[in-house]
Symmetry: D2
Subunit: 345 residues, 4 copies
């Protein structure tokens, strides 16, 4: 971290300041220029609050050099993290994971039929919502406990591991048998929830919030990893911008940027990002080519009667056609920031 002091900083104030920094276990290197004095901090600055430093009258500017995250940082962990699911499916390090399924679990017939067609098309995990965050208190909020039960039934039938969203730590007991716990965009900074998930030893998929930076996403991963749970999957699902042609603006450049900053697997959810089924295929192909480690795709056996998010769900036959193109593109996908070569699927 570098601190630039104002021209008029009193030598005595500067000494008080550097003493305070040393008291936090940091080394300081001063470089006195004509117009500014620059203080370089060496050591673990992840605990240093830049804002407290900015509050000092003698400080003009503070600039971090080291990222504030450690466990998620590729600098301290060069190899791609590879996560293995109960059915042997892997994600990361060239392994590609496709999580497909309906937005909401509605009934046994629905979830099992979707799971079967998703598996037949090549998906290696089942996604489906039991707890649905809805903007309106009057909208359908999911089947809750019953939804979890039906997901586990579908797993029995198909062997596909199950991915589903948690909305509150108090529901954790219901998630005991779930294979991958998803944290939704609205909860990306629900820090109390993240801490609880850090105590588990199972994969956690964290979706980027609609207005969160990549550094904030990595800091949320850090919350989970700081608790000892290193199985974190990062997910881009679009950010909120002025553009209204799509529900959110899907930022595929986060894939290579996150791969450069972190060793964690990165997946993309084109269904929620775009909110329109006819955009799911093109964006899924784009994400694959950009080097995503996997995809979350909504597949539905009957969009017309979906209780929610119908417009962004693919019919099974369209999903199957998409899977073929994904397999064709995957070998040529970008791997610039990854140690390992693309694994043979």
């Amino acid at each position: 971290m570098i601190v630039i002091l104002k021209k008029n900083a009193e030598p005595q104030q500067v000494r008080l300041f550097t003493d305070w920094l040393r008291s936090m276990g940091l080394e300081t290197h001063l470089s006195v220029g004509e117009n500014h004095t620059i203080v370089g901090l060496v050591g673990d600055t992840s605990r240093v609050d830049m804002e407290s430093i900015l509050a000092l009258d003698i400080v003009e500017m503070v600039q971090r050099i080291q990222e504030p995250y450690k466990n998620a940082n590729r600098k301290f962990h060069e190899e791609d993290t590879i996560i293995t699911l109960p059915n042997g499916a892997k994600i990361g390090g060239g392994h590609f994971l496709v999580m497909a399924g309906p937005c909401s679990v509605e009934n046994e017939e629905q979830i099992i039929s979707v799971a079967r067609s998703a598996k037949a098309a090549g998906a290696n995990a089942l996604r489906g919502g039991a707890f649905k965050p809805r903007t309106s208190p009057y909208a359908f909020q999911g089947l809750h406990e019953e939804g979890i039960r039906l997901l586990l039934r579908a797993r029995e039938e198909t062997g596909l591991p199950v991915v589903t969203e948690i909305m509150d730590a108090k529901h954790l007991p219901l998630f005991a048998d779930i294979d991958v716990i998803q944290v939704g965009a609205r909860n990306m900074q629900n820090f109390e929830l993240l801490k609880e998930l850090g105590k588990l030893r199972k994969p956690v998929l964290i979706k980027r919030g609609m207005a969160n930076t990549l550094q904030e996403l990595l800091m949320s991963a850090e919350y989970v990893m700081a608790g000892g749970n290193e199985q974190v999957i990062l997910c881009e699902r679009g950010i909120r911008t002025f553009e209204t042609a799509t529900r959110n603006t899907m930022d595929l450049s986060v894939i290579p940027v996150l791969h450069q900053l972190s060793h964690l697997p990165v997946v993309v959810d084109p269904s929620h990002a775009t909110g329109r089924w006819e955009l799911v295929a093109p964006m899924a192909l784009g994400a694959t080519a950009c080097g995503a480690d996997g995809l979350l795709i909504e597949v539905h056996n009957d969009p017309e009667h979906a209780l929610c998010d119908g417009p962004q769900s693919l019919r099974p036959e369209k999903f199957a056609a998409l899977m073929e193109k994904i397999r064709a593109i995957q070998p040529y996908a970008d791997r610039s920031f990854s140690a390992a070569p693309a694994a043979a699927e």
Copy 2:
């Protein structure tokens, strides 16, 4: 709600569609044009999911006419909501409430001294953080239970009602004696928390999320009000945009817009919105002139040593000077959308 059907919609599909709508208790009015058929829906459309309708092949466009919120809607509740705190201080309907205090409660001496100077300057409520949402798992997260205890001590000393933030419903028992419970921007769509707060019968202050629309803010208020708790205060604290000169972009136009849409009181937090103490006074004056019903202002007895957010805290003397200007401007503040005239303070 208006649904525009595609040119090629089969009469039979249209009949199936209107039957389905009637099955939800809605009346439908058809108007068949050359290029489009328009279906007008009459009745309670707040339960209708626009997206499910958009999913239908015959539908080209859906447009809401009625707002999806009811309890928070001025159309159904013309009079301004006025909330009275234990010390008799009121907010709404021309009553102006100033909530001042430190970002974080640090120790008894600090919180009591700040509370005393805030009260002396004319603040009628004390704000202070016991639970702090922090981006980094390594940063100071507040004194928690002890912080709550110290806030209540400061209330004993000064008689000022206390406003503080909750981060998880499981902490509710600790908030039993708190006068106003604050929901932070990151939790604005923590729907499980909002539902719990709806069961209470005490004021809830909801901060707008960094990327949430005013309609979403009102829907979050609706979550609380749908539970029977009608004492909701709306708070603008800045949204996230491309501009980096301030921490967030403070959107003061939300004050008149929210007053037009809703009867709930609207307050502004210039300290967190700008992140810079020297901008707090100008923005507080601007918010007052725009017709805000109150302000959340950070006051600190010693910003240099604040454990967090020092840069945005005012010293007591600056706060006192600001209060004088606020009192001078308040009588001329905008009241365009309010039934009642400005109350004499």
Copy 3:
């Protein structure tokens, strides 16, 4: 266009309103409901100003059904527009055009060597800046007339058609021999310039502004096409959002969305969008898979000494490796919204 009138609209006001609309050559269809009266307008509404209608006291809401652009609209022109350059290279309808070259033309040796290596790697057009829009009046602004001359020299040497940016209509005479005239993001709504370009009969490449919607981009294309020049290429180069990890946020979903709305070719500029050379390859591959009709890529023989934008330029060898992957992915690229199949390259 649909106009929703307020509940209390006087029949006489409504008649005055519909008379006024008919005076503009529009048919009106009334549908009177309990809470609202809906007026449907049939005819050419592209000249109707929604805001003037919104200004009327009796109007609650106005909703367009037809897009305000006609020449650029796929509804009125199903086939993909295919543009052919002097060297026979085509773009659109499955033809893929790669425009490569340096950010700025610096000298004859530089532009010719880059042109040669770009062509050798498979680029079919040369891009290079002679007029550079720079935020600072003190920064290098390009070689101007001399830069144009050097681009034409490079064309002589390589046969590659030349793409370069115009900043002011008064420079048009200098562009007489240029093959594709580029309108930069900052000039996307320089309407006087667009009108002048509409008088030409040569390809115009319009970059989307940093804060412009896709509809606004199509309206700018409409300015050129309304003048009779139908050779317009649309270009995504990133929009401005809160995220600072990349210079701009590259929105690849615009590729399928624009293909759905318009028949015009869509290209992407990953170099300017990301501002970082190491992100150019992954984003170029992503854009290709999403179905882009072409790419603008910065290639430089010596980034270290570039006078501007060095950080986003690829060295020739990296560009050549990228071209191979692009050729491998292109056959599997999305073509959902296109009539023609992908052309054999």
Copy 4:
């Protein structure tokens, strides 16, 4: 400017780098740390292109310390700039200027009647559009030359100086008698136009672009001032964000921030920013309290028949009532960053 070099930077590369910097007339100060080498640059860095430096393999980060603008910078010009118009009206340094009038000049009767009522209510300048930037090529684009003539007629009648927008440098001859030339948001970075305006010696009002930072706005002012024209007025008219409740998001915090960074007068245009007449009064009061040096307000004698932007125009009687409140608030407005005290109006 501070440059942070990578850990592995070769001493020889570092020497080459510092030699290059010195060749640009900059002094360099090295500070070698364990993990990084920091190079501090002293001298005029406004010509240094940060991006070229970032392009160097040995560079990890570049951080500006000095602002890239000089003429507009308060650090080099402490006193507020005060601009005096032909009728003696002043703006800046505590002088408040209200520019009122219709969006578009339509005919002699209209412009003169609006000018008279604006003057009667206390406006000290007349605004009106002769050249209108319109998103659609099919929309009314203003009366052009005739509009300018009518504005000058209204000046004859009322003595009010005239403010109107220019869209292209080629129209400058028509603006010879105009008192204040306005550069619209879409042209804020039309650098060719800004250079031409720098050759004049009359006030130029520059509106902030919808996606431009304050630094970019100041750099555009720098373009004009670098030409020798120091009479620049900065104008906030809202930025584009995800919020759709208002046409744009009006960022009033730019008023104090710009006053801190620059000595130039800052005005606000609440009419275009909000796009809704009923929000003009509250936002005009807010801007006044925040310390704006003036306002641009749309006043119309008959919004219903305005050819454009009717929804954001105030009727004369509402404008007169607003002016009274503005006069009441102005003495208490924020003046934190200004040398001079508020002038008696």
